[in-house]
Symmetry: C2
Subunit: 332 residues, 2 copies
DNA sequence: GTGAAAGCGCTAACAC
DNA sequence: GTGTTAGCGCTTTCAC
């Protein structure tokens, strides 16, 4: 197994340099020689040592992907998209899951991906100035998904516009008292997205009311609690806009338990178009999550192949998916 | 940024070898010297080059994780568990998502993780003999989750026992005609697990009937279809056991659409305890998925630190979680 | 088109 | 304890 270049060279009757050239497909090797080398390599079951190769070239053939969570639908979906394009391009993906704040701190303290990757991808994770600098100082391309950072390419959706569309839908259905389930303070790992959705909510809401703005930490349980809070209000909303489907799921559950019908009594609108939104008949704002990942992967490839534009920013479209959870406001 | 060991050595007034020792914390360096070196390194913002280090030592500090999917709850959850323990041990995780059959073939043809990792982890993916040999030939420890392979450590649950428990629950509720939603033929990437669950089903089912055995490809949509098939039967089952929660979700939906009540008309029992099982009030067999990942991670660590036992096999427990989707069989 | 030689940045013996 | 000397297995000028 630990064959080396020279073994192949010997077998093919050429020098190591030629083997190296032939195996990498660089020009400047006679076709006959190349075939001979390839045959020899195949016979020996030889494959280049990525490590040695990296040391010599400075390239690792690997990209680092930093995520706050791997086991949430949104993230795993993006990772899947990213992985697909990187794999097809022959790159490997080094995954760094930050975990909690402590994990995040440890990650940036040690920066384990330093010198290990050719590029880094940050998924839905707003960086502090210091963190951004560290990543930029790596000297490798940086691309982000769902956030924008100076010096980095970004891929995302227009959160504000999407949320406006969602809210307008509710308003057109005649809803005036609309609750919001989102996140004001940074959640453990600090999203920025919820703030943009909140802003849109405030903008469109016919009767904005601070009491209608709840937070759900982007979890089902959080959504349940938020909905409970809304139901406890003296004059409760007739519709709820949740900044994520998972929170909307939680809201649905609280409503069901409270004996309220969706959408007859309360309309619920989510955001994401989670795999199970369809199952739960949740109306929602669909965003092409896997595509976000693929686009990000392509950004990396572009940068790696030397693209030199200032800073690219791709916005992919979203659309409303109307299912059974939204209906005209109860007339009462 | 591209500082080298010698720069630190110069600054600290020692040799490169000493810096190397000090930085890695190996014994045999005077405490004073070590402090001085650490200070110098910090001052320069120096960090060892993993590539060079790997070339010299033969160790990469990386483990390869091979999965059939990343964006399914079960897998993303395991990955999360694995990642946590590897990260805490200072190891990086190289993720390989096989995608479809073609992707799988390409992966094993190129074996991109060859010489890149110190160990490999295979998640819920039964290997062909050839594939197993290839992985074993890497010469690195191999551990599997959810499958068992000769030559590899494994971590998993007792699928058969768990399924038996599940089925018995249904039988005790008085159900006699029980449908099964699983998978007989290998799904795209071939699970082995469903077969064991199917065997348990057959064993316990009071009135086994080939027509009651359906397949759902482990997806919500597949579960929907399978349930539809079962409903189309002349004498339909009063309970359904699905080999995964996602398929159970699909079954629930088909039942709802058909105007049947769960659990009054039909009981549904899942498997996994998916994040959303609680939301959907699905009774299910809970398996500690994240723990599976953690255990697997620990297996890797043990092997990496030289453990030499023949072949370890870890079985973690499961338990029935009774929620609202199972009830006594309709007396009719 | 091909080969020789000099690294890439570390670690591991082996001396001292 | 610490320094010296060889490599680790490739790639890359630079000759030929």
């Amino acid at each position: 197994m630990p064959e080396k270049l020279d073994d192949v060279a010997r077998l093919a009757g050429v020098s190591a340099a030629t083997v190296s050239r032939a195996l990498r497909g660089v020009p400047g090797v006679a076709e006959r020689t190349r075939t001979r080398v390839l045959a020899a390599a195949a016979e020996l079951g030889y494959a280049i040592s990525p490590t040695a190769s990296s040391l010599a070239t400075g390239r690792t053939g690997t990209v680092g992907v930093i995520v706050p969570y791997v086991d949430r639908w949104y993230f795993s979906r993006i990772i899947s998209g990213v992985e697909r394009v990187l794999r097809e391009a022959g790159l490997s993906l080094l995954l760094y899951n930050l975990g909690d704040d402590a994990g995040r701190a440890r990650f940036f303290a040690g920066l384990p991906l330093r010198r290990r990757v050719d590029a880094v991808l940050v998924l839905a994770l707003p960086l502090s100035d210091a963190e951004r600098e560290q990543l930029l100082n790596l000297g490798t391309p940086l691309v982000t998904v769902g956030t924008e950072e100076p010096g980095a390419d970004s891929v995302g959706i227009d959160d504000h516009a999407a949320a406006v569309t969602a809210m307008r839908h509710l308003v057109q259905l005649g809803h005036r008292r609309i609750g919001f389930v989102g996140e004001d303070a940074p959640v453990p790992l600090g999203f920025t997205t919820p703030l943009r959705r909140l802003a849109a909510y405030r903008e469109v809401c016919p009767e904005p009311d601070p009491a209608f703005e709840t937070t759900g930490r982007f979890t089902v349980a959080g959504g349940e609690r938020a909905m409970a809070t809304l139901l406890g209000l003296p004059h409760r909303p007739t519709a709820v806009f949740a900044a994520s489907d998972e929170m909307a799921f939680g809201a649905l559950r609280t409503l069901r338990r409270a004996g309220l019908r969706v959408p007859e009594d309360v309309s619920v609108l989510g955001f994401d178009d989670h795999d199970l939104a369809d199952l739960l008949e949740l109306s929602t704002v669909a965003q092409p999550v896997a595509e976000l990942g693929e686009r990000a992967g392509h950004r990396v490839l572009a940068r790696l192949s030397g693209e030199k534009v200032a800073q690219s920013r791709t916005i992919v479209g979203t659309h409303l998916v109307l299912r059974g959870s939204t209906a005209p406001a109860p007339t009462r």
